[in-house]
Amino acid sequence: MAMETSLESPAPVRQVANAIAGWVDRLGAVWVEGQVAQVSRRPGMNTVFLTLRDAVADISIPVTCSRTLFDGLNPPLVEGASVVLHAKPSYYANRGTLSLYAREIRMVGLGELLARLERRRQLLAAEGLFAAELKRPLPFLPGTVGLVTAPNSAAERDVLENARRRWPAVAFEVAYAAMQGPRSASEVIEAVERLDRHPGVEVIVVARGGGSVEDLLPFSDEALIRAVHKIRTPLVSAIGHEPDSPLLDLVADVRASTPTDAAKLVVPDVGEELRLLARARDRARGALAGWLAREQAGLDALRSRPALADPRTLIDARRDEVDLLRDRARRCLGHALDRAADDVGHQHARARALSPLATLQRGYAVLQDAEGHVVTSVAGVAAKQKVSVRVADGRIHATTTRTEPLEGQSEDSTDG
């Protein structure tokens, strides 16, 4: 319901004021969280004036509440306390002032604080700000180490000394920031972003000594968490002691339990690295020497094999083989000859035995006709036929006179 006004028909102040009041009322009652900056409670006034400051931004808003409500607070409201109000914005037309009228003020107690922290953690976790895959590895040997800490604090000393002991040549870029109190979160954010922009810085450490939950509250601040989430440089959170774990630990790339631990994480122990290097080199050499020895042994074994080392064995083997074969050949031949000789002898004897010579020598003679056929029967032999008679030492030629058969001789066979 924008108002129709123009140069010719301007709206009166009261009309504008009422319009503003109407718009302001449309916000309605809200729960708002902040830090009490000032409290002015004047005797005789039944309203107490407060200033509520935003936890991070430089924004504050006046708050009014009834004195009875203010006095009834337990623990009493003090400056710097974190509170949650249930308030309705009200526009005081007479003087054109806007303030929140608080109907309920809740102290942010420790349990309440932790509960709210947990809710905030779940909220941010749901947004994926703590996702594991976002974690960046720390550089092994950072060019410059960015450090956000309180000026000349124990944390600063721990980080610097430990880092330098491990690697004397480490370069630091320190950005001081309040590590406690209302300004802390915003200063830390500013320092972290400055280091993030710094070209040389390759890792940022946010280091703070131990403290109460309230002291460490700035390190669970939502704006800080979102800022750390956005930066590119890997960040190490080293807040408080081992048990302390502000939300910064969850969004950081690496959580160190203490500042000293952070120094160990960001800087390698150069002495140790050199020892590792030397050992690696020795092992490499050992391996190679081992390999060489094995191959040499293998080669020596091969070369010592008779086939290579002593070729004569090759020739000898063949010569022996040949000799062997020759002897066997000879033996076989000998046997064969002997057998042959025996055989001949045997045949000879048999021949001789069968040959008529011996018979002839014993006085027998073989009669043959003119054609040389042996005559074994009188039949067929006529008188005056030319015959030859074979006697042991020669042949007698003769002519038959007559033949005379004898009984019982002709039917048996004569071997011949």
């Binding site: 190679l288 060489l292 080669l299 091969l302 070369r303 094999r305 290579l308 070729p311 063949r318």
Partner: protein
């Protein structure tokens, strides 16, 4: 007898060693003609020398690296 081989056609250590093992195996298996055996044996000698050259070279480079290290 091992004629000087130029670097390119010199077989690699593994190749030479592989062939050497094969030569010895065939020689020991026998059944090769005399002529073949002689040829095999000569080849064996050449291969053995090549392998030895490779190993000596590697040994020398390793020793050089170690000396280089001791001096620095």
């Amino acid at each position: 007898m091992a004629e000087k081989k130029t670097a390119e056609d010199k077989p690699s250590y593994e190749a030479a060693r592989e062939e050497l093992v094969e030569v010895v195996r065939r020689l020991e298996a026998g059944g090769t003609t005399l002529e073949e055996s002689l040829a095999l044996w000569e080849r064996g000698e050449v291969l053995a020398t090549i392998c030895q050259d490779w190993l000596d070279g590697a040994r020398a480079r390793l020793d050089a690296a170690i000396e280089g290290d001791d001096e620095s």
